[in-house]
Amino acid sequence: MSGGSRCTPMTLPQAIEEVDMRRFTYMIPKSLDEAISMHVAHGERAKYIAGGTDILIKIKERKAAPDYLISLKHILGPDRPLFSQETGELYIGAFVTHRRIETSKTVRTRYPILHDAVKNIGSVQIRNVATIGGNLVNAVPSADGAIPLIALDAEIRIHGPKGRRSMDLLHFFLGPGQCDLETGEILTEILIPPVLPRTGSAYLKFGRRQAMELPLLGVGVVLSLEEDFKTCCRARIALGVAAPTPMRAIQAEAFLNGKPVDEKTLEEAGKIAAEESRVRDSIRGVAWYRREMVGVLVKRMGRKALQRIHETHGRR
């Protein structure tokens, strides 16, 4: 076959040394227990890596300097979201890539809020390798993956040197870049509880640009209606970049509960959510504008959630 010479290893004259990557040892465990014991053995000198799109940049920028990178990519488990017909739960392994979530038909049809969010994270190239668990443990205030999952009441499971534990995702975030993970612990699973009947949801990443950009604001709304298709029986409003960590607008949710969902109540819910938000000035936008937009976008996403309920049930 011709063209073989193209692939022969060669030394370039004056090959430019890659200046930015620091030397490390890459370890490829096949099980969680193996990964955890590797971490225990190397302590602070070790870091876990899944897709690597964040940690490799941190290493290049000298913001992290691990001597050992422990890969979580080869630990066996389902590589896509799994919906259980029996329990009505959605199970997402933490090492599932954003692209697998984006292209999942189950997610697109049953959890449109999650589809809305993941399809605009990074780029195709990033989504093909970056994992949902990685998005969560980085704990940035803007984490697009976290907001819809919080609005869906997601629970997470964590494995570590001391065993397993579960918690709700909302309380996993402690501050910018900080989450409730102890040394050696791994976020392994995300579990979304059954969604009520007559539920609609929507997420908007609001910013100047959709791709390759952090949002100015992220707004996710999940609405469930009574049998009359008017009265709200459960509302979830989750906000990104509206506080140091992802947050829920609890008072706005409570306001909607038991009320008919219409332009007036959504408007009011938006105002309450804006008051609850703890927005601040940043390079991407000023606080007063963000607060205004929380109101506008909560209303807009509420409208979209409502529209989706009617679409799924063949009404209007």
Binding site: C7, M21, K60, V124, Q210
Partner: protein, 170 residues
């Protein structure tokens, strides 16, 4: 300390000893001399280093060489047929002015290939989403999108880019 990896690079079985901290981009450019894959930002923002791993577009600058063991990698050098005939996508970029300075072209073409392999009939929206991670500083986006669209229209022509590979199998 090195590590041996085996992978299929542009249709050829390749075995090589690598270092754990090498990126796929480093391996391709500095060790294998395949200079078609470009380094722009080095941090996954610009897409100039886009290559296909098992058919999926990835940023080679953020992909560890250690991770390609057992996989298939396609770079721009693997797009043309062994006799030098350009792939339909490459011809389209030439014909429609999708290339200006050329720095983004390899990445653009590979992102387009990943899209068309999955959706040969991709519409303009899908094309824009597929190349959202590829930046063109000449801002020739209109021509680039037109180049890709021109290939989608000929869906019956079997856009499967590795046509020469399919020939070998038959």
């Amino acid at each position: 300390m090195g590590r041996d990896v085996s992978f299929v690079l542009n249709g050829l079985e390749t075995h090589i000893r690598i270092e754990d901290h090498w990126t796929l981009l480093h391996l391709l450019r500095e060790e294998l001399g395949l200079l078609g894959t470009k380094e722009g930002c080095g941090s996954g923002e610009c897409g100039a280093c886009t290559v296909l791993v098992d058919g999926m577009a990835v940023n080679a600058c953020l992909y560890l060489a250690a991770e390609i063991d057992g996989r298939t990698v396609l770079t721009i050098e693997g797009m043309e047929a062994p006799d030098g005939t350009l792939h339909p996508l490459q011809r389209a970029f030439v014909k429609h002015g999708g290339i200006q300075c050329g720095f983004c072209s390899p990445g653009m073409i590979l992102s387009a290939k990943a899209l068309l392999d999955e959706r040969p009939d991709a519409d303009e929206e899908a094309i824009k989403a597929a190349i959202a991670g590829n930046i063109c500083r000449c801002t020739g986006y209109v021509q680039i999108i037109e180049s890709i669209r021109s290939v989608t229209r000929k869906a019956e022509e079997k856009v499967k880019v590795m046509a020469w590979q399919a020939d070998e199998e038959t």
